[in-house]
């Protein structure tokens, strides 16, 4: 290898520039990792809320016509669960409307810094 004629050391400015670029890349990577962690945390909280929605749905299901059960519940972090119990209109092949069928639904409003997320689960129940 022949040394180039213009060979010289790295000047301080180049070194600082390289280090700055390197740290910018690392910071960007760390931020993306952090945002992934935050997204996973939110998803995990949603799982917990999903389970609480299921519990409430099953509690209401025992006697959905009881107005005491169709009440909103506020959880931690201002998450609000609201059950609804509405008649379901279905017809058979002869056009006869099926009776005593209802849609039981629990809706959760999850406040986040940017917007309010809404999640819901529902089942169809037969309540004669």
């Amino acid at each position: 290898m022949t040394p180039s004629k213009n060979s010289k050391g790295i000047v301080l400015l180049e070194l600082i520039l390289a280090l700055t670029i390197f740290s910018l890349v690392i910071v960007a990577l760390a931020r993306s990792l952090q945002s992934a962690v935050e997204a996973a945390t939110v998803q995990q909280q949603e799982q917990v809320i999903q389970e609480q929605m299921r519990s409430l749905l099953e509690w209401v299901r025992i006697d959905p016509k009881d107005p005491e059960r169709i009440k909103s519940v506020e959880l931690e972090n201002k998450v609000k669960l609201t059950p609804t119990f509405l008649p379901l209109k279905l017809q058979n092949k002869k056009g006869i409307e099926l009776e005593n069928l209802y849609t039981l639904k629990v809706e959760a409003v999850i406040p986040t810094p940017t917007t309010n997320l809404t999640r819901s689960i529902q089942i169809t129940v037969y309540v004669p």
């Binding site: 010289k8 600082i16 389970e51 509690w59 025992i62």
Partner: protein, 239 residues
């Protein structure tokens, strides 16, 4: 040698090197702290996520169990008078189809869902499998007897405390146990306080209203029980 010396070539001065090293240390420290924070939160999240998955699996198993209680399955829940007054035994008689494992379920017609103290000083909850039906003596004040559990299967560990309640829609009241095998509670509530948590989580399970059809079962050929180690002792038969 006829090397031509470069005109402006010079080495770093000490000040430049110190300055460069100082800047490098500052940047390195900042980057390291950011990375360390991210990695630590990712690790913590992984642990919490794994734990959450265990709890979710357990809750789903309970949910499917209570929801799919067949008309042939008898269910009672009572305190274990020997080991711990606060520890309930949830007994499922003729429950081949419940808590499905890979083994031949027809050999284990009775199961108990209960908690027991673990080595860490906390509770574990799981299943005791019996190779005999429980003998339920009366319809209002039931008790059971069995020769001993054959298998103990832990479902969830690291529990600080837990409690059960049973909802009776006819009386619209909660009860702390369930002693009538000819009826079913309309719902079961489990309150769990996990070792790493300060707030208890409450889970409610709906039970389908089914008329119980048969109280009398015949025990299959018993399997020799394995040696119980740390599981709670089942109560003795009622006199």
């Amino acid at each position: 040698m006829n090397a031509r010396p470069q005109k402006k070539r010079r080495a770093f001065t000490l000040i430049e090197v110190i300055l460069a090293v100082a800047i490098l240390a500052l940047l390195g420290g900042a980057v390291a702290s950011i990375l360390q924070g991210s990695v630590a939160s990712a690790t913590a999240l992984t642990e919490v996520s794994n734990r959450q998955s265990q709890i979710q699996c357990f809750i789903q198993l309970l949910n499917s169990t209570f929801r799919n209680l067949g008309s042939e399955t008898l269910f009672i829940a009572q305190k274990n008078p020997i080991v711990d007054q606060s520890n309930l035994f949830l007994m499922f008689n003729n429950s081949h189809q419940l808590f499905l494992w890979h083994r031949d379920q027809s050999k284990f017609p009775a199961k108990v869902l209960t908690a027991w103290p673990s080595e860490k000083g906390v509770l574990s909850i799981g299943i005791l499998e019996y190779n005999r039906y429980f003998k339920l003596t009366t319809t209002t004040e039931s008790s059971f007897s069995a020769t001993g559990w054959v298998h103990k299967i832990e479902l969830l560990g690291d529990i600080k405390s837990l409690s059960w309640r049973f909802w009776n829609q006819a009386t619209k009241k909660w009860s702390d146990d369930w002693r009538n095998p000819t009826q079913r509670p309309n719902g079961v509530e489990l309150t769990l306080l996990l070792a790493e948590s300060k707030v208890p989580s409450i889970h409610f399970f709906w039970i389908p209203p089914i008329q119980i059809q048969n109280l009398n079962f015949q025990n299959p050929t018993p399997i020799p029980p394995s040696t119980p180690s740390t599981a709670p002792t089942p109560p003795e038969p009622a006199p």
